[in-house]
Symmetry: C2
Subunit: 341 residues, 2 copies
């Protein structure tokens, strides 16, 4: 039988001590960490970047198929992905949790193991937070802090006509991973049949254990590339690109045949009679970086195998369009996640 | 009839635009505010202080007697109170909300009116956040950022034997406010009788609209006082003082007759057959500052009418004690809020 320690046996402060006892800071910028009213950070002349995310059970994640360790890892990753999307380097996080008494200390340990693994992988320090009970459901709030050399941060509003539209990695995988997990969950609930995830490791991994594109931001620095605009893809490519167009006051042309799709994902999409292009355009949670660069940077961009050039920006009057494989032009529409609907 | 606009009619991004359309930044340190993946802050050589709080309906607040505007105000105040408790100045907040569809745009407007009022009162900029639906209940996560001159921050571990123990304002009021509101709620639920809050404006105000002690931190700067330890009182005086003793490795002596109690609060405590001292020691949510100073600062402290000297620190071996009005010595015990129990 699995061990189960009631959280109430530790008390709030005992729990915090328990969860942070092996917490070590890695960054010189972390002056004061967990254990006081607030943490203290010194970015020594650099600017501070801050981003926050709130994740709720039943809305953003389903514990019936999400291992807690993966959830801890992903919670950190989705947040620091926003810091990378500013062309900045994440340095610290604070994390607040609320959980009902169905959670044991062992369950929280699992979650924190994922949090610490992500902190390790991305060289980020956990410096504070808050814990509380909830009446129902698991609530995760993470705020990430990062640093950037003054004025090197990249916003969503600097794209110009003729800039190249680029994306890192591959798109649509996380959405397909979610689709298969939801399908298997329904089958299990109806028939009791165990999940069949044979051959779906890639797409399931894309959903459950995404990575943030630290490497791309590091490449920008090495290759001396300053993107003209950037954001991370959490809602879906079209939705995010439309944001950049709106905020930069530009139009755009995307090429369907340039969209980076993974072979396993494509195969699975066909199996489900889904259009892989639609998955790439509207599937969320890939946490790849969408950015624009000046055409002068073309040579530097094309040598990086993790970056695809998928189109170019235009004057606003030309609209926002996608050119299909067959050469037809369609208006780009946003069909990303919308938690408000 | 009150107007009700469904949040779904605006969509997530429309809602964010609506809530932040009049948001103006006041601090030179706010380089980039709401509207991108992250905000950018430049504290120009100062250190950055960060603190976070998670507030859940049914656990931390009860909407049946908490007006949304007050809740918005208080959510900001409790968070920046932690920044003041570091002897720092709050400069920015990010705020994430999750709410069910029972909330209308008008309800969120009320909440944000309180948030903006607090931002105005404390000269803080709202620079980002996240909004989401919840299946049930209102969830508020706020992270505050502040700045401090390098190494001027005050922790919980610097108190020394013979330091004076000081507290700002008056204690126990918020706990008594909560007691009366909970009592009136029960009476209303049982009998339908409208709340009788006659003469209880002070204690109800202490609970529903606390203030953070900006003035005290400003006084430290003017009078050139550097507290040896400090924290804000959210859980109750004894619990917080025991934290400082533990982290500073000291003991303490408190004097019951020095505890600052409000007359209205005292009267109401007697009416309920509660011990006012117990309310001051164990009642939470007063958001006053508890701090220690060297005896050399005695003259500077005693001239400030908002500060009471309530005892002194001792060597750890002498224990943590309170001297009652009758001259008896008792061990100080923590009976503060504990959301884990």
């Amino acid at each position: 039988m699995e061990e189960r320690t009631e959280i109430s046996s530790l008390g709030e402060f005992g729990l915090i001590d328990h969860l942070t006892i092996n917490n070590e800071t890695k960054n010189a910028s972390t002056i004061l960490s967990v254990g006081d009213d607030a943490a203290v950070i010194d970015h020594f002349g650099k600017q501070t970047v801050i981003s926050t995310d709130l994740l709720l059970e039943g809305i953003h994640f389903d514990l019936s198929y999400t291992p807690l360790k993966h959830l801890g890892y992903k919670s950190v990753v989705v947040n620091i992905s926003d810091i990378y999307a500013m062309n900045a380097t994440p340095t610290q996080i604070v994390i607040s949790l609320a959980f009902s008494n169905r959670f044991s200390v062992e369950a929280l340990d699992e979650f924190y193991a994922g949090v610490y693994a992500a902190c390790e992988a991305y060289n980020v320090d956990l410096v504070g937070g808050d814990t509380s009970t909830s009446q129902r459901g698991f609530v995760i709030s993470i705020t990430a802090i990062g640093e950037v050399t003054p004025d090197k941060y990249v916003t969503r509003n600097g794209a110009k006509a003729n800039d190249l539209i680029c994306v890192s990695g591959e798109l649509g995988g996380a959405f397909l991973g979610l689709t298969i997990l939801e399908r298997e969950k329904k089958i299990f609930e109806t028939t009791g049949a165990q999940p069949d995830l044979e051959g779906q490791a890639y797409i399931v991994g894309r959903l459950l254990k995404p990575e943030a594109r630290k490497d791309i931001v590091e490449y920008f620095s090495e290759a001396d590339i300053m993107p003209t605009s950037m954001m991370d893809i959490s809602d879906g490519l079209s939705s995010e690109l439309l944001h950049i167009c709106k905020q930069s006051n530009t139009g755009c042309v995307l090429y369907e045949d340039k969209l980076p799709l993974n072979d396993e994902a494509k195969e699975f999409a066909y199996k489900l009679q889904l259009d892989p292009t639609a998955c790439a355009l509207s599937g969320g949670e890939d946490y790849e970086l969408l950015f624009t660069v000046s055409q002068n940077d073309f040579e530097k961009i094309k040598v990086n195998p993790s970056i695809s050039i998928i189109g170019y920006m235009t004057e606003a009057a030309e609209g926002k369009n996608i050119i299909t494989r067959g050469g037809n032009k369609h208006a780009l529409v946003a069909q990303g996640w919308n938690h408000m609907k």
